[in-house]
Structure formats: C-alpha cells, structure tokens
C-alpha cells in the first residue's frame, strides 16, 4: 500500500513553512517532493527599492538565525564597490560576531536535531547553552537576533566588554566538549538513529551542489573562510572539520567540531584584536557605478551576494544565493528508500533554513 504523507507546511518537527510530500510504501520512502514557496517576501525586490543603508537592515532580515552574516556579506560587496578599507578592529569585531552567530546557529541546530530524534533533554541542554550565547550577543549588540552591527565601512558598535565574551565562550566550549560531543557521539539511542541514515557520497555532494557542513560531512573540504578569506579570517588559525562517511551522524560530528573551532577562533580574535577606530570615517559614502560580488561562509554554507549599482543611492540589483537553497535538493536524494521515521531527521540534518530559501 502506498500513501502520501504531507510533512508540513505546519508540522511540529518542521516549524518553518516547508512541505515535504513523502510517498511511502509501508514505512519506506519511495519518493519525495519538496515545496518551499510558502513564505516569499521579495527581499531582493524590496532591496532594489531601498537605499543602501536601509538595504543593510533589510537583508539582515533574510534569515533569523544567521542574520549577521547576510549584512556582513552585503557590506563586503558594497565596500568592494566603493573601494573602502575597513579598519582592522572592525574586521575583528565582525569576525567575532560571525563566529558567535555560527555558535548560536549550530547550537540551535543541535537542539533541533535532538528534538527530532525525540531526545528532549538534549534539546534543553543545547538551548540552555544557546541562551548564554544569545545573552552575550545581546550585551554586545543590543539585540538578540538581528544585531544591526554592520554598516558600510565598519561596525556600528565597539566591543565594550571583551572579558564577558571570553568568559561565555569558555563556558560554551566546556559545554560542547564535556556534554554535547560525548552525548551526541556516545549515546546508544542517538547512534541507533543517526549512523548510516541519509547517506550522500562525495560524488553525489558535488553533483547536487551541496555546500557547507552538509558537503563537508561528505568529504568535501570547501570552506570560504579558508579558500577566500574575508573579515579577519586570513589572520586567524583554524581547522576545517571534515568527515567522510556522509551520513547524518557525520553531519552531527562536523557541526559539533565546528563549534569547538568557532570558540577557538573567537578566543584568538579576542587575543589579537587591535585597538583603533571601528569605522572608516564618513557614514554616507558614494557607491560608484559597477558590480560587486561577495561570498562568506554562513553557518549553513556558502552565502553569495551580487550587487550592481548605477551610482545612485539605491542598488540596481541585489541577488542573494543562500546555502539552504542549494542544500535542499539533496534532501530528496538522501530520503529515497529511507524509513518514514528518519524523514524529519534527514531533513533536519542539512539544517534547512526556509526563511533563507523562500526569501
């Protein structure tokens, strides 16, 4: 007997507007169709009707979890166009913000993954840790999610209390290494749910264009922070965790290790951050006629911005390519022949962000 189970657009495991139609034979998935069209907001269209300053705040709203990296990449593109040099200190602050954001994002993901496996306690542990990071980001930027830290040519707020960052990051690293990593990798029930599920080989990852941790769990080593450094990444030492088994478990491991690495990056950045201005000078800069492209490694993978300017204060065209959008098709590949019980988990394993996808 084959039947179709709609998972979403309103579903407890997928709190976001996405519909996964699963066609099942018994409990085995035969085919999947995805639709992500439920929350189109026309951000790109709107950005072409706002001046550059407004557009920064606008693109920050593309995503609620990785908001900062959107604003950062957009600013990077604009700075490239205008030929500005951003002061060192601002670059470091941007790096710290982006890494803290990666930590919150991965903590959120780990919590959701645990929740999808029905492991509520682990969900609570992850979210308790995430809460510390959110509080920290709130003290740094004044906001819990849309930080509003980036502006053309620098950042809007200085890092007032680096010690607080250091303390929280140390605590978070401890939670990750002492609790999350052992729990996720050693717990029997988690192992039973994750390993061997949602396989994607390296070749498939290349063919389907996977990016970010999803690709790195299949053996690809691409990380924009290393291949084309932005912000202060060229002055920082860090490893890019790569796993080769390509299943859900590998994705869990890659993200957990990335969290440790992020803590490491933040600590280094705090050690190296130079004193100085946080902004290049005048707030209003002329964006000359031209085109620019910027890439960044968002928590979910490569984020890409294209901006074209006609010399006015309103962009001609803004094109955003978000990592979730490229990762989502791989879900279909991974779900074929999977168990119905694994469908939410496989979907969650690529850390899909629908507000990025359907922007």
């Amino acid at each position: 007997m084959s039947f179709t189970i709609p998972i979403g657009p309103y579903h407890p495991a997928l709190e976001e507007p996405c519909k996964v139609q699963v066609i099942c034979e018994g409990e085995i998935v035969q085919d999947v169709s995805l639709s992500v069209k439920y929350n189109f907001r026309g951000v790109e269209w709107l950005a072409e009707r706002r001046n550059y300053h407004q557009a920064i705040a606008l693109v920050e709203r593309v995503c609620g979890i990785c908001s900062n990296v959107h604003a950062l990449t957009f600013c990077n593109a604009l700075e490239g166009l205008a030929g500005l040099t951003v002061p060192e200190r601002a670059q470091y602050i941007r790096t710290i913000m982006v890494e803290l954001e990666r930590l919150t994002s991965h903590a959120l993901w780990a919590g959701i993954a645990a929740e999808v496996m029905g492991f509520q306690t682990l969900f609570m542990t992850c979210f308790a840790m995430r809460e510390q990071l959110m509080d920290l980001l709130e003290t740094i930027s004044g906001n819990r999610i849309h930080y509003g830290m980036n502006c053309i040519g620098g950042v809007t707020r200085d890092l007032a209390n680096p010690e607080a960052v250091r303390i929280t990051v140390r605590r978070v690293r401890q939670t990750v290494t002492d609790q999350l990593i052992p729990l996720f990798t050693e717990d029997k029930t988690i192992h039973a749910r994750c390993s061997g599920i949602g396989q994607m080989t390296k070749e498939q990852a290349v063919a389907w264009g996977a990016v970010g941790p999803t690709a790195r769990a299949s053996g690809l080593t691409e990380d924009i922070r290393q291949t084309s450094p932005y912000a202060a990444y060229n002055q920082l030492e860090f490893k890019v965790p790569v796993e080769t088994s390509g299943d859900v478990f590998a994705r869990v491991v890659v993200r957990l290790l990335e969290m440790v690495e992020s803590c490491h990056i933040v600590e280094q950045a705090l050690d190296q951050i130079p004193p100085g201005p946080i902004h290049h000078g005048p707030i209003f800069v002329e964006i000359p006629r031209g085109e620019a492209v910027a890439r960044a490694e968002a928590p979910r993978g490569e984020l890409f911005y294209y901006v074209s300017s006609d010399g006015t204060d309103i962009p001609c065209r803004v094109k955003i390519r978000t990592p979730s959008f490229v990762n989502l098709p791989t879900v279909r590949l991974m779900m074929l022949q999977a168990n119905l019980a694994d469908v939410p988990l496989i979907n969650a394993s690529i850390d899909p962000c629908y507000s990025c996808t359907s922007r």
């Binding site: 706002r50 300053h53 705040a57 509080d135 709130e138 707020r157 002492d178 729990l183």
Partner: protein, 177 residues
C-alpha cells in the same frame, strides 16, 4: 559525561528557567524603542532616510516639524540613532510593549521652529552642538548667519555676490582654518 550525569547535574543545580512575571534584567545598551530629545533635533531627516521600515518619519510644517515614530514598525536596528548628527535620539533600555494595532503606539513629537533672527519667520532650529561641529573656526560675524532661515541665507548670499562682483568689495573675512 553520559546523559544520566547531565540529568543529575540539572537536578542538583535547580531549574535554569524563570517563572513568568520574573524577567532577566536588560543588558546595558539594549535596543529598545527609539526616544527623541526634541530640544536637540534639527529636523534634518537623516533618521527617516536610513530607516528601513519607515518607522521614523519627519514631516516639515510651517512653524514646526513633526517627528513621528511607530514602535510597531521599528526593527530596532539602531541605524537612526547612529546617523543622527546631533545625538537627539537614543534607545530605551526596555523593549516596547506588545501591541495589537501597530498604530496604537505611535508617537508624534513636535520640534518647534525658532524665529529667524533676521526676518522673524519660523525656521528649523540650529543647535550649538552642530554649530560647534560644522562651523568650527568660522569668524563670529559669519557664524551669526548660521542661525538665519534659508530664504534670508539665499538673500544674504545674493547680496554678497552682488557686492563682490558688482561693487568690487572684498568678501567677508574668514579666519584661517
């Protein structure tokens, strides 16, 4: 560390959550709703220019200027505060109350114009902070001109042009800066 030691630790440490009306203190520099000091504002409209959602609107009238703010539209990005040239804006240390109707919380502030020292017509105010910033090292006889209204300023420049080009008088002196 296995899960049971985590459970035990949680039991020992007690709950990390709070009961409803209790709340965590807001951190310093929290981005709450935007507040204005009308006595500082110069009605330049910069805040309205950078505001992404149109939460701040500046409308000029004959003898005052209306600064309208809708917390229901605001995204609390803080852009307006950071671009205001005279630091007339700041953000409240607490979050805005929740609302049903976005219009219900709208605030309208009137920035009164001051009379132009020359013609007496109401003119957008010029504040000391701005004068100190923008007219640094300008001779006092010219500095007076910074207070006059736009029309008087235009007239004044025309008069100066006429006096230089037609009558051949030397331009009003500027100090060396």
């Amino acid at each position: 560390m296995n899960i049971f030691s985590v459970l035990l630790k949680n039991l020992r440490m007690g709950p990390a959550t709070l009961r409803f009306p209790e709340e965590v203190p807001y951190p310093k520099g929290f981005h709450g709703p935007v507040k204005i000091h009308t006595e500082k504002c110069i009605c330049c409209g910069m805040c309205a220019y950078v505001c992404v959602s149109g939460a701040v609107r500046v409308a000029e009238h004959k003898d005052n200027c209306e600064w309208v703010y809708s917390p229901g539209l605001c995204t609390f990005c803080g852009k307006c505060v950071s671009v205001c040239p005279v630091e007339a804006l700041h953000m409240a240390a607490k979050s805005a109350p929740s609302y049903f109707n976005t219009k219900a919380l709208d605030e309208v502030h009137l920035v009164p114009y001051s009379p132009c020292p020359e013609c007496g017509r109401p003119t957008p105010p010029v504040r000391e902070v701005l004068r100190a910033k923008a007219f640094k090292g300008v001779a006092p006889n010219v500095l007076v001109k910074s207070l006059i209204c736009q029309r008087c300023r235009q007239k004044d420049s025309q008069r100066a042009l006429v006096s230089i080009q037609v009558k051949g008088e030397p331009p009003p002196s500027r100090s060396d800066k």
